[in-house]
Symmetry: C2
Subunit: 132 residues, 2 copies
């Protein structure tokens, strides 16, 4: 069971590096080298972050990526949802449309509680809090 996939993990690490050095611009490959991550893979990840408004990008020589948001405004929950979709722990249970017995309802309620906790924890962590 994975809470954080590689895509999201790499995104978090890259953003941490970028947050440390204020307004500097980074190319995908520079970051990839620093973090020992496959270059083309990280590049795609940064492109997605750009589309989602977390990064700004500049093409051409000397171009690259730079933070579009303050580091304390980039929350883990957002990054995870960008790369993994919404955090829904009870997905499979809900697919069984009709609740076949009271028991699964109790189970569902429990799972919902866990989900709420996970979401609230992930919402409390931002890039800035990972730097201290």
């Amino acid at each position: 069971m994975k809470l954080i996939t590689k895509r999201a993990d790499y995104a978090i690490r890259a953003l941490c590096v970028m947050a440390k050095n204020g307004q500097r611009m980074y190319s995908a490959f520079e970051l990839a080298k620093k973090l020992k991550i496959p270059g083309p893979f990280l590049r795609r990840i940064l492109q997605i972050l750009n589309k989602r408004g977390v990064l700004k990008s500049y093409k051409g020589q000397g171009g690259g990526f730079i933070l579009a948001l303050q580091p304390d405004n980039i929350f883990l929950i957002d990054l995870i949802e960008i790369f993994q979709g919404p955090v829904k722990l009870n997905e499979c249970l809900f697919k069984a449309k009709i609740c076949p017995s009271i028991s699964t309802c109790i189970l569902r309620r429990k799972v919902d509680e866990i989900e709420k906790f996970v979401v609230s924890e992930l919402s409390s962590i931002n890039i800035n809090s990972l730097l201290n």
Copy 2:
């Protein structure tokens, strides 16, 4: 992101049915029909529960499966670990053997906290508590 896969979900439901009717024996197909689950699939699930000591099985005509444990001694955490392996939310982070920066250590600690909560919640629920 899935907390409970279909295998574990089906196992839970089947065990709930079996727990309701004390010491009756159920064939895989009888349970499958009652729960509207594909027969051969549930059969494999019950075989696994048998191997893991949650069920006892009897071959031959009139055979089937019966609980090997008291319903309040079968915990969700065990069922999930049987079908999905240990609940390790930080798997992917640990694979990056060496902690590449202090930031991922903080992240790891946070993820560990979440993991502990999930495990303790799942450890507090047993089949019996799903029946009330």
